[in-house]
Symmetry: C2
Subunit: 233 residues, 2 copies
């Protein structure tokens, strides 16, 4: 059992996968309501790794999360195949339509969940939280509910008999504007987050991640507190 900063006694542990983006921030805000949080930050040689790490630390500070694990896996970036890790592939500024976009990082959530579940097993956490979004997202295959369901079976087959871990994706079926709304309801520090795929000084406002985020804030009728180089009209 552990006392959280808020003074409430929480007995259950959970691992929260915390990239530093808006979705993982809102997920952390939800998880921290009821659980002692173990925060996992996974990097893979992506363009904005330094800025995302900064957001991870700031969010952990905000929620007084002491248990932090930073896990670089540069091999995932070194193998290429994604605009987020291969600078010879441009980050697109337009929709990819119905196909999987070039910003897809091969089986990224498989890597993140495998490590998060290992940590959950070691510390005795009951669940892993991940801020994946299926509906109003980029169409990544590893953000689908069917993937999380299948991975849950695999992880419980591949860990100790006494280990039982849930994968919780509370944002999976929310729109970006609903996520903004939840974040504001929770008092989540959205100004500390970073979502841009391209830049680390100010958000580009043009990549698909910036566009999804800005559209979410616009639909929610709220101003995004982070600075942008430009914003679509």
């Amino acid at each position: 059992m552990a006392w959280r900063g808020t003074g409430r006694l929480v007995s259950s542990k959970v691992v929260v996968c915390l990239s530093g983006g808006m979705d993982s921030c809102v997920t952390l805000a939800m998880a921290a309501q009821a659980h002692a949080v173990y925060a996992l930050h996974f990097t893979y040689g992506q363009r904005t790794a330094k800025r995302e790490r900064q957001s991870f630390e700031a969010l952990c500070d905000h929620y007084a999360v002491a248990a932090r694990l930073v896990a670089p896996q540069p091999a995932l970036g070194a193998m290429g195949g994604s605009a987020l890790t291969d600078t010879s592939i441009a980050v697109p500024t337009e929709d990819s339509g119905s196909s999987v976009p070039v910003t897809y990082v091969p089986f990224r959530n498989g890597q993140i969940l495998a490590l998060a579940c290992a940590w959950a097993e070691v510390v005795g956490a009951e669940a892993v939280y991940l801020g994946a979004v299926e509906e109003d997202s980029s169409g990544y295959p590893d953000c689908r509910e069917s993937f999380f369901d299948a991975f849950t079976v695999a992880l419980n087959e591949g860990t100790r008999p006494e280990t039982s871990i849930e994968i919780r994706t509370p944002l999976l079926h929310l729109s970006k504007s609903q996520i903004v709304g939840r974040g504001i309801d929770q008092g989540a520090p959205l100004g500390l987050t970073w979502s841009c795929y391209s830049r680390e000084d100010v958000a580009c406002g043009e990549c698909e991640s910036c566009r999804l985020r800005l559209a979410g804030f616009a639909a929610a009728g709220v101003n995004d507190p982070i600075p942008y180089a430009s914003q679509p009209r």
Copy 2:
């Protein structure tokens, strides 16, 4: 398509998870018969990482494998929970009985497969080979057929619609002595491999990995070509 060193034309690509141990060596020998091999070596801060890496490189040299990916994930070791990564937990020299032994590394095969499948997706490989052994092994939960079956579903749900990857574990239901026999049949360079959990100069002969290996050679009626500090009588 690619010409292998043997002069045969092979068109299909596979990723082979190659720790440098005997089982992964025999698996590589089998895979290299029919496929162009992409060799993945995963480390996690284990005691014998340096010696295992040496075996990995020697085995790749032997089979003329040019495509090598070395992927350190020290966070898996840093989270502890295993005698292989935590030097405060002794490597046992006796059977753990029916329970999962302290040498179990939490969800290690989950990590390895997640990365191997990502690489398989990027290079267009049809399968991932892993030298897991279920029957005559240490009783690790992530070496069970039910885990590999479940992970196969998860990986194909979590990758591109056009991606289809098999997980192949050709040793899964073999005894250690049968594995020694297959290795010899295949002409596998078993003298280049390393299985010991404890030492890097000579194999200790006492840890569970050495004992399983030595018992396998004894049952096959073959001398193990690697040097041992001592051998059980």
